[in-house]
C-alpha cells in the first residue's frame, strides 16, 4: 500500500518538507505520519494539519504527495532510497543533496532542483529526478552523481559548479549553464549558446545520453525518439575548471518529431 499525502489547504508560510522521505516514513501508519511536525514559518504544524494522510509507509517505500506544493521546499531532499511521486508543482530545493532513490515530479519545480544547500559544496550524490514541467534556477548545482531529467526548461545557471552527474532539459537549458562544471554532463534539447569557457568538439550520437533518455522515458517523461537516436553537438568545458565536463545540444533538427 502506498502512503499518500494530499494537501488540504495552502500553508500560511513556506514549509520545509525535507522530513517527508520514504526511509523516514517506513512502517509508520497514517496516524503516526500525521503526527509528525514540519517547520512552517515560525510554527510547527503536524503533517496531518497540512495533508490528508492515507495508506502507510511500506517496504516498497513509495510516497505520493498531491496538491499545489509550491510553498513546500526540500521535497525529497537527502533521500537515499525509495520513491516519491509528486502530483503538482513543488517549491525550491526539491531533491537537494539527494543520495539515492527516485523523485518523480509531475509538475514544475522551483530553484535548485537536486542542488547543494547554501554553504555546502556537494549537491545530489545519487538517485534520479524526473520533472515533467520546468525547473527554476541552478538545477543540479554542485551535483556529484545522479540524473536530473526535465521535460521542460531549466532556469539560468543549471549545473553550476557541477562535479559530475547529468542534467537533461528537453525544453532547453537556460543561460550560463555549466559555470564551473568539472566533469558533469548537461544536455539541452533546444539550441542554447554555451558560455565562452566551453569549446565546440563535434556532432555525434552520444550513447550514454541515449540510455539516460530511455531511462527518463521509463520514469515517466515523454522523450521523442528523435532525441534518443539523434545527433548532439558536444561542447567541452568549463575551461576555467578541468574542462572535462560537457554540454550536449540537440543538433539534428531535421529528425525532430
Amino acid at each position: 500500500m502506498t502512503l499518500t499525502l494530499t494537501l488540504r489547504t495552502e500553508p500560511p508560510a513556506r514549509v520545509l518538507a525535507a522530513p517527508l522521505i520514504p526511509e523516514r516514513l517506513r512502517a509508520l501508519n497514517a496516524s503516526a505520519v500525521g503526527a509528525l511536525e514540519l517547520r512552517c514559518g515560525g510554527e510547527t504544524p503536524a503533517v496531518g494539519d497540512l495533508f490528508e494522510v492515507s495508506g502507510a509507509g511500506t517496504e516498497q517505500e513509495v510516497l505520493v504527495l498531491s496538491g499545489d506544493l509550491r510553498r513546500f521546499d526540500g521535497i525529497g531532499a537527502h533521500m537515499s532510497s525509495g520513491e516519491i511521486v509528486v502530483r503538482g508543482d513543488v517549491g525550491a530545493w526539491a531533491g537537494a543533496e539527494m543520495a539515492g532513490g527516485v523523485l518523480r515530479i509531475f509538475g514544475n519545480a522551483g530553484a535548485r532542483l537536486g542542488a547543494a544547500y547554501p554553504g555546502t559544496r556537494v549537491g545530489m550524490t545519487g538517485g534520479e529526478i524526473v520533472l515533467t514541467g520546468d525547473a527554476g534556477e541552478e538545477a543540479g548545482a554542485g551535483m556529484r552523481r545522479g540524473l536530473v531529467a526535465v521535460a521542460g526548461r531549466t532556469g539560468n545557471g543549471a549545473g553550476l559548479r557541477m562535479l559530475a552527474g547529468t542534467v537533461i532539459a528537453l525544453g532547453g537549458i537556460g543561460d550560463e549553464a555549466g559555470l564551473g562544471n568539472k566533469r558533469g554532463s548537461l544536455a539541452s534539447g533546444r539550441p542554447v549558446e554555451p558560455l565562452p569557457s566551453y569549446a565546440f568538439a563535434t556532432r555525434y550520437q552520444p550513447p550514454a545520453l541515449g540510455m539516460q533518455l530511455l531511462r527518463a522515458r521509463e520514469l515517466g517523461l515523454s522523450v521523442p525518439d528523435a532525441l534518443v537516436g539523434g545527433r548532439w553537438a558536444r561542447w567541452s568545458g568549463d575551461r576555467t575548471e578541468l574542462s572535462r565536463g560537457e554540454i550536449l545540444i540537440f543538433d539534428d533538427e531535421g529528425s525532430r518529431e
Binding site: G126, E128, R145, G146, L147, T166, R183, S185, T202, Y204, Q205, P206, P207, A208, G210, M211, Q212, L214, R215, E218, V228, G229, R244
Partner: protein, 301 residues
C-alpha cells in the same frame, strides 16, 4: 545396436557427458543489426574448444531493439571458460579486440543480477588514457571510452554464472551431403536462448578423443572410432554399417535443462532431415557431472 528408432533413424542407447563451466552473456548493440553481427562473429571467432582456445563462445540469438539497453538492434553472445578468472580474462580480450574496435557498437552485461561478476569496462576503460568517463544509469555503471568514431559505451562489469558445457549429438548418414544437411538442420533447431554452439556453423567434423594413441603429450586427437575412413583399419570402430559420414554438434548451455531441451530439438530434427544414425559422445561417465541419455529424449519437443 541397442536403442530405439525415430522413423528411419536409429538412436543409440548411450548418453552425452557434460561438465560444469562458468559463463557470461554480453549484449552487443550497434547502429544496425549487421554491425552488431559483425562484432559478435569476430568476438566468437576462434572460440570453439576451451582446450585449444581458452574459451568457448557463440552467438546465442539476435535481439530486437526493444530488448536491448540502448534501444538498438543487438546480438546476445555466450562465453564459457573453466573458471571465473578465465571468463574475466577472455571477455576483456574479446570485447576489447572485437567489439570495441567494431563501428558503432556498445556492449552490455547480459546477466544483470548475477551474484558473481567480472570486470569489463572497469578494465577496458584504461584504453581511454585518462579521457574515459563513467555514468551510472538506473543503478548500473557504464564507461564511456572516447574513440575515433565517437564513444564506446561498455558495462563496468558482467555477471558470471555456472553453466553446462559439452552436451553433444553425433549425427551420421550414408552420404556426406545428407549427413551434413541433417546436422545443419539440427544445429538450426538447437540454437536458442541459453544455448551456444561454439563450432563453425555449430558443427564439428573433427570430433576428438582425450589423449592420443601415439603420443603422451597430445591433449586430444582424432576420434578414430567415428572416422569412416578408418572403419576397416581399426578394431574398435564405432561407425555403424551403412554410415559414410559423421558430424558432431557440441552444446554449451546456461543450465542442464537448456542443454537437454536443445539436444531433444536437435535429435528429432536430425531424424526428420535424413540422418540414419544418431549417437552421443561420452567418457564412460567417469569425467562429467552431467549425463544426457538419448533414451530420455525420445518424446518430441
Amino acid at each position: 545396436m541397442s536403442g530405439y528408432e525415430l522413423g528411419q533413424t536409429a538412436i543409440e542407447d548411450t548418453f552425452a557427458e557434460a561438465f560444469p563451466m562458468r559463463y557470461t552473456r554480453v549484449l552487443i548493440t550497434a547502429a544496425t543489426e549487421a554491425w552488431a553481427l559483425e562484432a559478435a562473429r569476430s568476438m566468437t571467432g576462434f572460440a570453439t574448444s576451451v582446450i585449444g582456445c581458452k574459451c568457448e563462445a557463440a552467438i546465442e540469438r539476435g535481439l530486437a531493439a526493444a530488448e536491448t539497453p540502448d534501444g538498438r538492434p543487438g546480438i546476445a553472445v555466450l562465453l564459457f571458460a573453466m573458471d571465473r578468472e578465465g571468463v574475466g580474462k577472455r571477455i576483456v580480450e574479446r570485447v576489447g579486440q572485437s567489439v570495441m574496435t567494431c563501428p558503432t557498437t556498445a556492449c552490455f552485461d547480459g546477466l544483470p543480477g548475477a551474484q558473481k561478476t567480472v570486470a569489463l569496462g572497469q578494465t577496458l576503460r584504461y584504453f581511454g588514457d585518462g579521457f574515459q568517463a563513467s555514468k551510472v544509469i538506473a543503478g548500473r555503471r557504464y564507461w564511456r571510452i572516447p574513440v575515433m568514431e565517437g564513444e564506446f559505451l561498455v558495462s563496468e562489469s558482467v555477471g558470471v554464472d555456472t553453466g553446462v558445457a559439452g552436451g553433444n549429438l553425433v549425427i551420421g548418414a550414408a552420404e556426406e551431403d545428407v549427413a551434413l544437411a541433417a546436422a545443419q538442420a539440427a544445429a538450426d533447431a538447437m540454437r536458442g536462448e541459453g544455448i551456444a554452439l561454439p563450432f563453425p556453423g555449430g558443427i564439428v567434423r573433427s570430433g576428438s578423443k582425450v589423449g592420443a594413441l601415439t603420443s603422451k603429450s597430445m591433449p586430444a586427437s582424432t576420434n578414430h572410432q567415428l572416422a569412416p575412413t578408418l572403419r576397416a583399419q581399426v578394431d574398435d570402430t564405432l561407425v555403424p554399417d551403412g554410415v559414410g559420414a559423421v558430424f558432431e554438434i557440441v552444446i554449451d548451455g546456461v543450465s542442464e535443462d537448456a542443454v537437454r531441451e536443445s539436444m531433444r530439438r536437435g535429435l528429432h530434427t536430425a531424424a526428420g532431415a535424413g540422418a540414419t544414425h544418431v549417437t552421443a559422445a561420452n567418457f564412460g561417465g567417469k569425467l562429467g557431472q552431467f549425463h544426457f541419455p538419448l533414451s530420455e529424449l525420445r518424446d518430441p519437443p
